[in-house]
């Protein structure tokens, strides 16, 4: 040990000389320059994700219009202007709205039934071991099966009409929702479960008050996937077997317009499908997210 005279042998002080102690007064924050500075107007505008998305949409529209004008073949690729005109005409005559409504009402019915069944299956899966095995086996078998592949069978079983469409819609919603909800339930932390049981919660109240909110992030993901699957399935089903849903929906509108070579109408129909998709994703699901998982800090 290389000791200096001011360190006593065996003390826990390093060998160098002791420092001079000091205590300082806190200086005023204004003397430090920038502590907090508001962002510029441009930075704030650029921070709004809706505005950034709108900019992307505008750019795509401009590209579409430019390409269609340059191509000049309205039978192959109508301009954005012609599509909007056809859309407007469809809305004005009420035909497009009626078709859309037909599609959406069938869709909602299938979606709701699918969610209800998924809820039953997942509750069975978390409460019994056989229910768990049942859900796992069923999702493994049926989730990869395209819903549209069941339509011929559904037509035989339920006949021409919305019942067969609802059947395939249930199939397209049920598995993704059940799968996500179940994995969400399994991921609920043990502490949170113990808190729920400590409060004396059991059975259905335990599921609704603890498991569902705690797994809401996963449930919402399931609902989103289920929505996309069912919307996609419905349009495809209507395109192929359009007449099956009585008065016909949006897919049928696209199919008929193609047969009549009214390509602008085909585009208008597709455009409606996209608009509804955007609306559901960016308005409905977005708002649910803002009011729930984001507000609770479960998703950033």
């Amino acid at each position: 040990m290389s000791s200096t005279p001011d360190v006593t042998a065996g003390s826990r002080h390093p060998a160098h000389a002791r420092r001079v102690e000091f205590v300082r007064e806190k200086i005023d924050g204004s003397a430090c320059g920038v502590v907090e500075k508001p962002l510029t107007a441009w930075e704030r505008v650029y921070n709004i994700s809706a505005l950034r998305k709108i900019f992307i949409l505008l750019a795509l529209t401009a590209l579409w219009q430019a390409y269609a004008v340059w191509l000049g073949k309205s039978l192959l690729f109508p301009t954005f202007g012609a599509t909007v005109a056809a859309l407007w005409q469809g809305i004005e005559s009420g035909e497009l709205l009626q078709r859309t409504w037909n599609s959406i009402s069938v869709l909602l019915m299938g979606y709701m039934c699918g969610i209800a069944l998924a809820a039953l299956l997942t509750v069975a899966a978390i409460s019994t071991r056989i229910g768990n095995d049942f859900l796992e086996t069923m999702t493994a078998m049926l989730n990869p099966l395209p819903a549209i592949a069941l339509l011929p069978l559904a037509l035989i079983w339920f006949g021409l009409g919305s019942a067969s469409l609802v059947f395939v819609l249930i199939h397209s919603v049920l598995w993704p929702v059940a799968l996500n909800t179940h994995s969400g339930f399994l991921a609920v932390s043990n502490t949170m479960r113990m808190v729920g049981r400590n409060a004396g919660l059991e059975g259905v109240r335990y599921v609704t008050a603890i498991l569902i909110p705690a797994a809401f992030g996963s449930i919402l993901t399931g609902l989103k996937i289920g929505w996309a699957f069912s919307w996609r399935t419905l349009i495809a089903a209507e395109l192929v077997f359009g007449v099956s849903s009585g008065s016909g929906g949006l897919g049928w509108f696209i199919y008929v317009s193609k047969n009549d070579l009214e390509i602008a109408n085909v585009f208008a129909g597709l455009f409606t499908v996209i608009l509804i998709g955007l609306f559901v994703e960016n308005v409905i699901f977005r708002n649910i997210e803002l009011r729930t998982v984001r507000r609770w800090g479960m998703q950033s």
Binding site: T191, N198, G200, W296, G297
Partner: protein, 275 residues
């Protein structure tokens, strides 16, 4: 083994029956390929207004013991009685405060978190629950944050909410499972003092699990030392809240505890003495 006196000097030790009586409790749990005996024939008694601390190194089964008192698992041998009745399942007469910050429901604000347990246990109606929630939130100095969500709070604040939530239930006994272990040393010290202040106010009964000797001395009026693998009672010591020198042994309380815990196994290094 030394016997602890009940927490309140006024309550005579001889006449009063214990609030919580753990007698000959052996606890076992299964892991994937082992059957683990967490505690072996543990006895202790907690009286009203006790601040009873279970202290021991990792693996002494203190948390498992607390969970058994909470009703989350049942002993394979022995009995746990609360007010003379055997414990069968979790219930709001024994409120747990956990170590983890995620014990608060993230979808509820601070106030709603406290109300949630009060209402769901059927203890109070909505209106009365809100009044009591606000009262206890004030006690833990979080009145400014009643409408904040848990993710906006610091770790110490979250634990204070959990304590308020448990205390608002006015349970027979509070069960605290290393509630300050995940906090930084400065906050931890502050929380210990706050807990003692709350005790001065309401004289609740608490069963407190910790692996910190200093925390045990600070918080408990009685400390049960457990030795590990499997957890067995080693000693029961009184604490005045100060690390005093014992007249008989001539040692500080912390040194006595240290000696008792480490005399027979030196390899047990997990026991830390946080502030």
């Amino acid at each position: 083994m030394l016997e602890c006196q009940p927490g309140l000097p006024a309550a005579g030790a001889a006449g009063e029956s214990p609030l919580l009586e753990v007698s000959g409790v052996t606890l076992q749990y299964k892991t994937k390929d082992h059957l683990v005996t967490a505690t072996y024939r543990v006895d202790f008694r907690v009286f009203r207004s006790d601040r009873y601390v279970l202290l021991g190194p990792s693996g002494c089964g203190k948390s498992t013991l607390l969970k058994a008192v909470g009703g989350y698992l049942s002993p394979v041998e022995g009995t746990i009685r609360l007010k003379g009745e055997a414990i069968a399942r979790p219930g709001p007469d024994r409120m747990m405060v956990f170590q983890e910050f995620d014990q608060l429901l993230p979808w509820k604000s601070v106030k709603q978190n406290v109300i949630f347990t009060l209402v769901n246990s059927g203890r109070l109606k909505r209106k009365a629950a809100e009044e009591r929630a606000l009262h206890y939130i004030e006690k833990v100095n979080l009145t400014k944050f009643v409408d904040s969500y848990p993710h906006m709070l610091s770790g110490g604040m979250k634990q204070r909410v959990a304590i308020a939530r448990a205390m608002a239930m006015e349970p027979d006994i509070l069960l605290m499972d290393e509630p300050f272990a995940a906090l930084d040393a400065l906050t931890r010290r502050k929380m210990q003092d706050e807990l003692l202040q709350l005790w001065d106010d309401t004289r609740f009964t608490v069963l407190f699990v910790t692996h910190s000797i200093i925390e045990a001395i600070n918080i408990g009026n009685c400390i049960l030392l457990l030795s590990p693998h499997p957890g067995q009672v080693k000693a029961e010591l009184n604490s005045s809240g100060i690390d005093e020198v014992d007249e008989i042994s001539g040692l500080r309380l912390s040194d006595r505890i240290h000696k008792l815990l480490f005399s027979d196994q030196i390899e047990e290094r997990e026991l830390t003495s946080h502030v």
